[in-house]
């Protein structure tokens, strides 16, 4: 059997969306191409961070990567579309756009770079947690110090909401929240649980501000070694694995909210997503050009229609 290296950044736990995807892919591949691959898992940044994994896909040292959308956007700005704040109202809408024409066009940008985009798995919506007050309306973000990734889209989003974005390394964030250097942060549910954030933060506001898409990317070098039927089977496996993964992550996320409530967090939903989107329109304008006018409009039309 041929070695197939699958890499991602988070842990190899049963609740982790990346890990679920990796194991689903393995199962689907075993079913469609039995005995073809010896799948080796490299969780926890074992083969490098996402930048290096993307490069590894190019060089053929990694066969499949499960990569956070924001990291892929450093390679091609079209991917920034997926990270636009308050773009998708719910999961179904996101799946529709990402599985459709828009998603295909974005993934297609990878083909000139030695990679094949197989689809987008579910990372879950990102939400805000903080110690100042529940975020119900856009004004609640004002003056609150949120840790963000070192990423202009996220920094821009908090700036336009009047918040105080604080880019900070992930490894420093927990202590910073504990000791009050920051008031809060924005992350998916699974990450809140995995890192014990209920211990140091009070309010969980289900803002759904950014849909976290996980790019499932294969190396072109790996694909070059496959026959046409094998390629098709591989792609089908990825699609099937993604669809199962979405269901599993959705089930898990309902449980996670309950779990966080039990752990003592005060949970709330936001009142009016449209009001938030109104506020962050400057971010849309800022990135529209880099993403591509046509692509952007197509996506906007789909989420409104």
């Amino acid at each position: 059997a041929e070695t197939l290296r699958v890499g991602w950044t988070t842990s190899d736990s049963a609740q982790d969306p990346y890990a679920i995807m990796a194991h689903n892919l393995q199962a689907e591949l075993d079913q469609r191409l039995p005995g073809k691959f010896d799948v080796q898992m490299f969780p926890n940044n074992q083969l490098g961070d996402e930048k290096q994994m993307l490069e590894g896909l190019q060089y053929g040292t990694l066969d499949v990567g499960i990569i956070t959308n924001a990291s892929i956007a450093n390679l091609d700005p079209a991917f920034q579309l997926n990270d636009m704040p308050f773009l998708f109202a719910d999961e179904e809408q996101a799946h529709g756009v990402l599985d459709g024409e828009v998603g295909q066009e974005i993934l297609g940008k990878l083909s000139g770079k030695g990679m094949i985009g197989l689809g987008f798995a579910e990372g879950g919506f990102r939400h805000m947690i903080n110690n100042t007050r529940p975020v119900v309306a856009p004004d609640d973000v004002k003056g609150v110090k949120f840790r963000t990734m070192q990423n202009p889209v996220f920094i821009g989003m908090f700036s336009s909401l009047g918040g105080n974005p604080t880019p900070m390394a992930w490894s420093e964030t927990f202590t910073a929240a504990q000791q009050g250097t920051i008031d809060g942060l924005e992350i998916p549910l699974a990450v809140i649980v995995a890192n014990n954030y209920p211990e140091v933060t009070k309010y969980l506001s289900l803002t759904k501000h950014t849909y976290s898409a996980l790019g499932i990317i294969a190396s072109e070098r790996t694909f070059a070694k496959l026959s046409d039927e094998e390629k098709a089977a591989f792609k089908e496996s990825a699609t099937a694995a993604i669809s199962k993964q979405r269901t599993q992550v959705a089930e898990a996320s309902a449980q996670l909210v309950q779990q966080l409530e039990d752990a003592g967090m005060t949970v709330n939903e936001i009142e009016n997503p449209a009001a938030f989107r109104e506020q962050v329109l400057p971010v849309y304008e800022e990135f529209r050009g880099a993403i591509g006018e046509e692509l952007f409009n197509k996506a906007l039309a789909e989420v409104k229609g």
Binding site: L75, D76, N164, T166, A169
Partner: protein, 166 residues
Amino acid sequence: MINLLDRLSNWTARATDAVVILMTVVMMSALILQVFSRYVLSASLIWSEELALILFTWTTLLAATSVLRDMAHVRLDVVISYLPLGLQKFWNRVITIVIFLFCIALAVSGYDYTVSTMGQVSAAMRLPIEVLHLAAPVCGGLGALHAFARIFKPVVVTGKPKEFIG
């Protein structure tokens, strides 16, 4: 000819040192500015951490080449110190050739890396990633120059204490 090569290597190393000193000043200033801005201006800088990290890679790789010029990278010489002096000299030259070959490999590897990652941008400042990745081929190239010069004109061993680390 050998003297010329040696002088070129020496001059390059001292010029490298000057660049390293300048970069260090900027790197430390960026870190201090970050703290200052966070507490005094109560606004976080987006670029400071990334700038400091890019300069860290550059200062490390550049200073490593001028350390190479002086053959001062740490090594275990307990075993070879038992060899007769003539054989030690010969063996040290073999090691220098090995280092030279490695630096060539690093230069080639760094060139490939820089070329294959063109188009990528840095996460915060959105700078072309070559600003960072070029450090590898430059380090390989400078290292190769110094090692090549040292093949013909080895370091005169003195009784002075070596540089120490950790």
